[in-house]
């Protein structure tokens, strides 16, 4: 049985998704401020790491990494509504790439599983 990451198309699929996903969140007034930075390449690399993780690909993040990586955003007001918006953009990105509904669900579930760590609770 192949992994979710393999079924989605591995790194190629992540590469295809990252520009679309980052463009979507930047254009989304609800969350753009958390992603808006001068160093867009670094931000895009972070998005790529995030997508690789939620696609079930190789990434060795721990709950602790997630907490530390988002602490400064929680201080700026990051909350559940923003996580919801990110998940929505994630699902739309995948549908735009013709990913099947079953896989979209799996990816969103994986992404949702780090919600508490991201929000530092």
């Amino acid at each position: 049985m192949s992994t979710l990451y393999e079924r989605l198309g591995g790194e190629k699929a992540v590469d295809a998704a990252v520009d679309i996903f980052y463009r979507r969140v930047l254009a989304d007034g609800r969350i753009a401020r958390f992603f808006d930075t001068v160093d867009m390449e670094r931000q895009a690399a972070k998005q790529k790491a995030f997508l690789t993780m939620v696609f079930g690909g190789p990434a060795n993040y721990t709950g602790k990494d997630m907490r530390e990586g988002h602490k400064h955003l929680v201080e700026k007001g990051l909350n559940d509504s923003h996580v919801d918006a990110v998940l929505e953009n994630l699902a739309t990105t995948l549908r735009q790439l013709n990913v099947g509904e079953a896989e979209v669900k799996e990816v969103v579930t994986l992404a949702n599983s780090v919600r508490d760590d991201v929000l530092n609770r």
Partner: protein
């Protein structure tokens, strides 16, 4: 020779071990994140030796050309010497060849380094007047076409470097330089791709270098250069640009001078964004200028559909 060195310090590395883990084991503070080759949080640069290609995947072509690689997925097969992070590049002496004005407040400085100074057109170097007076300037010269290094320097009445250059320096004098640095050069561009160069003020300097490099390397696609300036006088090099535009069928020069009567008030960002709508998805962009201009262009171009890896930028920060 050991398989891995960090500057001149040899670092022990086991067979199949990654550079990241070896550095950390040696007590070197190497930044990192995912440890899986994805987040690019662990980039290191090889000064000597070739990192395996697979450790460079996902990096930009300009980064690859300069030896950058991801330490967390790099198990070296041949010796690598890394550039220690935070260490400054080696210094070099150069002789001032000429200093003249391109516009009332823009000085062209040409210097000749006393030793080889390999660089790519469009990169920048650091001028070192003293330990507490250093500034970075983009290079307008071309390594194969010009025997000198050329910089275009905006003269600020209160700028310490400006004052130092115009008051204390004359041809024949010596000045220290360090570098080169920067990712804003012609690499990873397809020869048929539209090439769009956008700059303001002395941001023209690196673009002039990139433009000549692109032509030398046989770029076939259309090239459009937008230069933003406060007034006609500051739109320096206009004549050279126009001559080149007449001689080269695929090159167009678009000076944008602030003027309420002009389209978009002569604003270079607005003009370029409007005119390039149709080419966003497939053009390669080079942006050079102040932080505000570059940040705005980068964001708008990307939101409009440009690929992030096709946007190269060089931000000029102003220090006084």
């Amino acid at each position: 020779m050991s398989l891995l060195s960090y500057g001149d310090r040899p670092v022990e590395i086991a067979e199949g071990e990654t550079v990241l883990s070896a550095l950390l084991r040696a007590g070197i503070k190497a930044p990192h994140g995912c440890r899986a080759g994805v987040c690019q949080g662990c980039v290191q640069r090889a000064l000597q030796g070739e990192p395996p290609a697979q450790a460079q995947e996902g990096l930009s072509d300009a980064q690859k050309a300069q030896g950058f690689f991801l330490a967390c997925i790099c198990a070296p097969k041949s010796p690598l010497i890394l550039a220690p992070i935070e260490s400054s590049s080696p210094r070099l002496d150069a002789i001032v060849r000429s200093m003249d004005l391109l516009a009332p407040d823009i000085m062209r400085l040409r210097i000749e380094p006393e030793a080889a100074f390999p660089y790519r057109a469009g990169q920048f170097l650091e001028l070192v007047a003293s330990e507490d007076l250093k500034r970075c300037y983009s290079l307008a010269s071309h390594p194969e076409e010009d025997p000198f290094l050329e910089m275009h320097i905006r003269l600020h009445p209160d700028g310490r470097m400006s004052r130092h250059l115009s008051q204390n320096l004359s041809p024949g004098d010596r000045i220290e330089i360090a570098g080169p640095e920067g990712n804003c050069f012609y690499e990873g561009v397809e020869p048929d791709q539209p090439l769009v160069l956008i700059g303001a003020g002395t941001g023209l300097a690196p673009l002039w270098g990139v433009l000549r490099d692109a032509l030398r390397r046989g770029h076939r696609g259309p090239i459009r250069l937008y230069h933003g300036a406060r007034d006609r006088e500051s739109a320096y090099h206009a004549e050279e640009m126009e001559v080149l535009a007449r001689a080269r069928e695929n090159f167009a020069y678009r000076p944008c001078v602030r003027d309420t009567a002009a389209a978009h008030g002569g604003d270079v960002a607005a003009t370029a964004l409007a005119d390039e709508q149709a080419s966003l998805a497939h053009a390669a962009f080079f942006l050079c200028g102040g932080e505000k201009l570059v940040a705005r262009l980068k964001r708008e171009l990307f939101l409009g559909g440009a690929k992030l890896k096709h946007i190269r930028a060089d931000v000029f920060t102003q220090a006084v």
